[in-house]
Subunit: 430 residues, 2 copies
């Protein structure tokens, strides 16, 4: 939907273009703000202004409305092309994959550009160049709900190559929807990685007031250059404010809110570190020190692995073809790790056939313990592998990776029950 | 596994039986506690004592161990049979269904009885008889992972009958694993119910120190007799201590920890009320007043409804037979309500065929908003119903109920998007 003819006339008569600072008088009120691009969902007579507060307000105009331009849009910022590397600074490779964080706002005009250039991202946070030389590239430009195994493989190989060619750290801006799954996938593919690999997203698109894109990115750069810790991490806001960031281990993090800036939470683990507004890093739990070991990327992922949440009334016969036809199934069972006992015979059959069936809890917090009640014991006897405090999503990723890297279901079961990347069991806290 | 012959001899020589207070000297240490029943998972030479702290300790005995009985087990408590109702007190119907809360501990001997008599439960909390006349019955005695639609139907009919025959409130002790699902089912089956219906469980089995079974039950009785609020609620501990309880709305509650006593949390809603250690009730959000309206139980539930969590790498073709063969599907999508865009054509086909497809978020917290990104808009255009802030589990239950109570998929979609039992949208807070 575009502007109505009347609205176009109102804007043109005043000489208002996107980014103009305008005063709009309508319905007995006066509004002052920057003219924002027309939104495809706003009505034909709605003009959107970015107010001084930073909020965008949609205002209905009519034949009585008056518009005056106070200030023309600022010229677009100079975009640096290639920046000369500074001697003595560490090198961070920034690998763009898409998502909200990759949308670009011109802060002078308020206009949003869906530009996905990672250079643009760096230019929005110029102070990042004071602490690191940035090598920026775009690997993908996709919404994170469309991420899958082929993208994880691409990222892992790109990270390996960037580190092999001298990067001291890698930052991957990523859509938040599936960032937890990608973090887990990279954690298994890049086990024992010797440098920091940080996934980062934004919960607020860059046209919203105080978008978290820039602050999150700067926190990543600080952690990458100062903490000297190796591993796959997710860094996002720790509170709904601007002044606090959490560093999560890639196998322990889950998106726990659709929209809050502090949506990402470490589950069953203390975050690896906390970063305050001044960039001060507090280590909270165990992480390996950086080293110069070469990076090995084992990127194979088995197909035919399922993640299923148990629910009352779930019919074993309905799910039989899927489960019997799969290589492996992770259940998010109820409570301590249960499913309806009517599933036991079929799961026994599946395990005997070589399907690896593993159990996590849909409670998310706490540990699976299948020794407490009869159903749990029956499932254990059937061959179901209990996964302690592993997240269902991490377990699904791990099972795909394990089955691609083992030669028998028995070996697969053993590896599922063995911590490989901090994904299960107690972690050392400081 | 049972005791070894040597251990049996040690116990018999001392005259120790279950519940005896004993002093055991072994390995240079001395232990004093009540002899607990032998656990099937403890070794043949392990003796379990309940210490003064309340904790059970397993102690390995050998040929050098010495055992002395200090005190014989106490006589079992007198179990009251029928208690004469007291005039002027409200009547609470207690309907047992099984679960941890229904396991009985004899506090004098420390022995655990898997007795499921609701009278036993009441007798463990004698002060409950000071505030209400209790009518206790056992409806089922099953683990909650085995609960399903037939049990929800049985409970709803029993509640209706109990209230019709004079009960002022109903308390349902229930296993915690699927208590949230049952609470949602009863909320839709008993819409507009005029009395309090409270589900309650225990996270610690009664043989553990300070089991929450009794304290939870007493909090329920207080809420039922004092708050004068109608609806389906879950009452459990609000903290890991003993002194605080939360009253949750049946459609907004989820088990969020495998073992903590405060595992049940209201999601996207303030709890209905808080109850402190002294039984003081603070109303925190909206609930209807009790009345004498008759209870209508609409207990039909459609079969062939699925709850599916989206995960990266989920293959639409693998799930096609299930989805196309179903009456309805609730997705726990990623983020604001997304699945991989490769699902769009199949979901469009399913919707056109009359399958009701609804979207919630696996983030659990926050609202689905499918207008923000392309994939969401494509899903809306395909006919997928966005469910705002409804829990995936509640949405699954609601969809089963809605499809059994509507005559067309279109009507079903409309009802899914309409709040029926406080399950979606903002609730009034006090």
């Amino acid at each position: 939907m575009s502007y109505s003819d009347d609205t176009v006339r109102l804007l043109e008569a005043a000489g208002a273009t996107e980014g103009s600072m305008v005063v709009l008088e309508t319905g007995g009120r006066s509004y002052r703000g920057r003219l924002m691009p027309h939104h495809e969902f706003s009505g034909p007579d709605i003009v959107i202004l970015k107010m001084k507060s930073g909020y965008n307000v949609g205002i209905k105009v009519d034949s009585g409305s008056k518009l005056k331009v106070e200030e023309s849009p600022a010229e677009p910022a100079h975009r640096e092309a290639d920046v000369e590397p500074k001697k003595g600074l560490p090198t961070i490779s920034l690998i763009g994959t898409g998502g909200t964080i990759a949308s670009y706002v011109d802060y002078r005009t308020g206009a949003v550009h869906p530009a996905l250039s990672t250079s643009d991202m760096v230019n929005a946070v110029p102070e990042i160049r004071d602490i690191a030389n940035i090598r920026a590239k775009v690997l993908f430009s996709i919404f994170s709900e469309n991420m899958g195994p082929e993208h994880w493989k691409g990222m892992a190989e790109c990270i390996r190559d960037e580190i092999a060619s001298g990067a001291d750290a890698v930052i991957i801006p990523h859509g938040t929807d599936t960032m937890g799954y990608t973090a887990a996938a990279l954690s298994f593919m890049l086990q024992g990685i010797s440098k920091p690999v940080v996934l980062v997203g934004a919960q607020r698109s860059s046209d919203r007031p105080s978008s978290d894109a820039s602050t999150n990115l700067m926190a990543c750069a600080r952690f990458c250059t100062e903490a000297k810790k190796a591993g796959v991490f997710v860094i996002m806001h720790d509170t709904s404010g601007d002044d606090s960031f959490a560093v999560h281990l890639g196998t322990r993090v889950r998106k726990m809110h659709t929209s809050r800036r502090d949506a990402f939470r470490s589950i069953n683990a203390t975050p690896v570190a906390h970063i305050d507004a001044k960039g001060k890093i507090d280590m909270l739990s165990d992480a390996r020190d950086v080293s110069d070991e070469p990076v090995i990327a084992r990127t194979d992922m088995e197909d035919g692995v399922l993640l299923l949440q148990y629910f009352p009334g779930m019919d074993p016969e309905t799910f039989r073809p899927l489960i019997m036809g799969s290589k492996g199934v992770v259940f998010a069972g109820s409570g301590l790790g249960h499913v309806n006992s009517s599933f036991v015979p079929m799961l026994r059959e599946a395990c005997a056939k070589g399907v690896v069936v593993a159990m996590t809890s849909q409670c998310l917090n706490g540990r699976v313990n299948m020794n407490v009640y009869d159903t749990g014991r029956d499932l254990l006897a059937a061959g179901v592998v209990p996964l302690l405090d592993m997240l269902p999503e991490t377990a699904y990723i791990k099972l795909r990776w394990v089955l691609a890297n083992t030669s028998s279901p028995e070996e697969g079961r053993t590896m599922m029950a063995t911590p490989l990347a901090g994904e299960m069991g107690d972690r050392r806290e400081f």
